[in-house]
C-alpha cells in the first residue's frame, strides 16, 4: 500500500534534512559528542559552543536575549515548568490562575493538578470565533492572581489570540503572562521585545525540528522567577537540571534559523495551499469552517461536514493522514472539547476534520485530498439518516433523541 499523504503537520512535522544533517554531526566519536557541562577539555567546550549557538538561534527567532532561553524536553514540559513554577514561587502573593478552555492538555491538566493542591483556576470561554479577548482577561484578574496562561495559536482550529493585548492587560495588573506558542513559533512573527509576555513555551517538532526538545522563554526584565520542577546539577541557571542533549538542541537551533529565514515565503505558500483546500469544498452544502479565518495561522484549517460522523469519515480516507476534531478515535467518544467550547452543537463537533499543511505539501496533494474527501462525504451522506432528514426539511432539534 502506498503511504498516505500527510495532512497532520499540526500534530508533528518531519525533520528538515538540513536539521537532521546538523544533528547527526553531534553524535559519534568524530562528531561533537561532548557534554556541554564539561569544563576541563575541548570536547566539552565545543559542545557548549554548539549549544550556545543554538540558544542564540532560538532567541533570534523570538527577538529576545539568549539568556532568557531555558532548554526543556518540549512544550509540555515548558508549560508545566511555567505554570507550576510561577504558581509555587509566588504562592505567597496569591493562589489564583487564569487560563482558557481551549488550551492544550499540557496547560489544562497542569492547572487541574494545581487545583488539587489548593489553587483556584478561572477557565475563560472563547467566543464563537475561538478567541479570548484582553477584556475577558482583565475582567477575570483578581488581587490574588499570579499567572495568566492563554495560548497564541490554538492547535485544533488555528485561530490566533491577541497576545499583545492580553500582555498589556497582565503587565498593567502586575500579573505574569505565559503563552503556549507551540503552534505559532516559526509560523508567524513573535517579537518578545515588544510583546508583554513573561513566559513562552515552544516545541521543536512542530517546526521541522526533532521531537523531545523545546524551550521555555523566561523574561529577565522585569524579572520572572520560578520554582524548578527538575532538580539536579543546576543546569539552565537552576531552572531545569539535566545534561543538555547537544544534538537535540542543535536541531532546534537550526530549525529556528531556517524558520526565521524562510517564514515569509513559507507562510505565503502554506496559505495558498490551505485556501486551495478550503475552496475545494466551496460548492458543497453544509460544510463549515471552524474558527475565525481572519485571525488564523496559514497551515491549519478545521472544517465540519455536517451529517457525517468524523471517525467514519477518516476511516474512508485511508490515503490521507489527518485527525478528526472529534476525539472518538482516542476511545473517549467525546467530541472535541475545543469545538464544544466554541458553543458548537455536538453533531457539528462530531463531524469535523483538521487539515494541516506544511513545508512538504504540494498542490497535487491538496487536489487529491479534496477529491477523496468529497467522495467520502457524499458516500457517507447517502448512508446517513440525518442527511435524509435534513433533505426532507426535518429540524433535527425538534426530535427527542434518546441519549445513550
Amino acid at each position: 500500500m502506498k503511504a498516505p499523504v500527510y495532512f497532520d503537520y499540526a500534530a508533528t512535522t518531519p525533520v528538515d534534512p538540513r536539521v537532521a544533517q546538523k544533528m547527526s554531526e553531534c553524535l559519534m566519536t568524530e562528531g561533537n559528542f561532548g557534554n556541554p557541562a564539561s569544563r576541563s577539555h575541548k570536547f566539552g567546550w565545543e559542545a557548549e559552543e554548539a549549544v550556545e549557538l543554538a540558544r542564540k538561534q532560538v532567541a533570534d527567532l523570538l527577538n529576545c536575549d539568549p539568556r532568557e532561553i531555558v532548554w526543556t524536553s518540549g512544550a509540555t514540559e515548558s508549560d508545566n515548568l511555567a505554570i507550576k513554577g510561577i504558581a509555587q514561587f509566588y504562592k505567597g502573593k496569591g493562589k489564583h490562575l487564569i487560563t482558557s478552555k481551549i488550551e492544550h492538555k499540557a496547560v489544562l491538566d497542569t492547572c487541574r493538578h494545581l487545583e488539587r493542591d489548593g489553587y483556584e483556576v478561572t477557565y475563560l470561554e472563547p467566543g464563537e470565533d475561538g478567541l479570548i479577548t484582553p477584556q475577558q482577561v482583565a475582567d477575570a484578574i483578581r488581587e490574588d492572581t499570579t499567572l495568566v496562561s492563554v495560548m497564541h495559536v490554538n492547535n485544533e482550529i488555528g485561530v490566533i489570540n491577541d497576545i499583545a493585548g492580553i500582555g498589556e492587560v497582565c503587565r498593567a495588573a502586575k500579573v505574569f503572562y505565559h503563552v503556549d506558542a507551540a503552534q505559532s513559533a516559526g509560523k508567524i512573527p513573535v517579537d518578545l521585545e515588544s510583546l508583554k509576555v513573561d513566559l513562552m513555551s515552544l516545541s521543536a517538532h512542530k517546526m521541522y525540528g526533532p521531537k523531545g526538545v523545546g524551550v521555555l522563554y523566561v523574561r529577565r526584565k522585569p524579572r520572572v522567577r520560578l520554582e524548578a520542577q527538575m532538580h539536579g546539577g543546576g543546569h539552565e541557571r537552576g531552572m531545569r537540571s539535566g545534561t543538555l542533549a547537544t544534538h537535540q538542541l542543535v536541531g532546534m537551533g537550526e530549525c529556528c534559523r531556517i524558520a526565521q529565514l524562510e517564514m515569509a515565503s513559507e507562510a505565503d505558500r502554506t496559505l495558498a495551499l490551505r485556501e486551495r483546500l478550503r475552496r475545494g469544498f466551496d460548492d458543497m452544502e453544509e460544510v463549515y469552517v471552524n474558527g475565525d479565518l481572519n485571525a488564523h495561522v496559514p497551515g491549519i484549517i478545521n472544517m465540519s461536514f455536517n451529517y457525517v460522523e468524523g471517525e467514519s469519515l477518516i476511516m474512508s480516507l485511508p490515503e490521507i493522514a489527518l485527525s478528526s476534531g472529534s476525539a472518538c478515535t482516542s476511545a473517549s467518544l467525546e467530541p472535541s472539547y475545543v469545538l464544544r467550547a466554541l458553543g458548537m452543537n455536538d453533531e457539528l463537533a462530531h463531524s469535523s476534520l483538521r487539515f494541516s499543511v506544511g513545508r512538504f505539501t504540494t498542490e497535487e496533494d491538496v487536489d487529491g485530498a479534496i477529491k477523496q474527501v468529497r467522495h467520502a462525504v457524499e458516500k457517507l451522506r447517502e448512508l446517513s439518516p440525518l442527511w435524509d432528514m435534513y433533505k426532507d426539511g426535518v429540524d433535527l432539534d425538534s426530535i427527542e433523541w434518546a441519549a445513550h
Partner: protein
C-alpha cells in the same frame, strides 16, 4: 485503531442501504441513538402477513463499527419471524464483527434498533385491529 476484516467489508460494501415509506402498515421503523452521541441508526423492516420479515433497510450516522453493525443486522433479520428477530443479542453482533470493547455500544445500539422496529410494527398492527 485497526478494524476487523468483517467491519471493513460491511463498511465498504454496506448491505441494504435505503429507506421504506414509514407510513406503510407493513413497515416497522426503529430509530435509535442521538446525533450528540455521534450515533444514529434507522432500521426498517417489511413484514408479511405471516409475521415474517421479508426485507430490511438501514441508514446509519456513526463510526465504521456502527455502520457495520446495522448492515449486518439487516442481513440477519431477513426471513426471521418478529419474535426471532427481537431475540438477536448485541453479543452475537459484536462477536461476528470482532468489535473491540470500546465499540461494543455500537452492537448494543443495533440490538435496540431491531427491538424498536419490531415494536413499531406491532403497534401499527394493534392499531389496525
Amino acid at each position: 485503531m485497526a478494524y476487523s476484516d468483517q467491519v471493513m467489508d460491511h463498511y465498504q460494501n454496506p448491505r441494504n442501504v435505503g429507506k421504506f415509506d414509514d407510513q406503510d402498515d407493513q413497515i416497522g421503523t426503529g430509530m435509535v441513538g442521538a446525533p450528540a452521541c455521534g450515533d444514529v441508526m434507522r432500521l426498517q423492516i417489511r413484514v408479511n402477513d405471516e409475521g415474517i420479515i421479508e426485507d430490511a433497510k438501514f441508514k446509519t450516522y456513526g463510526c465504521g463499527s456502527a455502520i457495520a453493525s446495522s448492515s449486518l443486522l439487516t442481513e440477519w433479520v431477513k426471513g426471521r419471524s418478529l419474535d426471532d428477530a427481537a431475540q438477536i443479542k448485541n453479543t452475537e453482533i459484536a462477536e461476528e464483527l470482532a468489535l473491540p470493547p470500546v465499540k461494543i455500544h455500537c452492537s448494543v445500539l443495533a440490538e435496540d434498533a431491531i427491538k424498536a422496529a419490531v415494536e413499531d410494527y406491532r403497534k401499527k398492527l394493534a392499531a389496525q385491529t
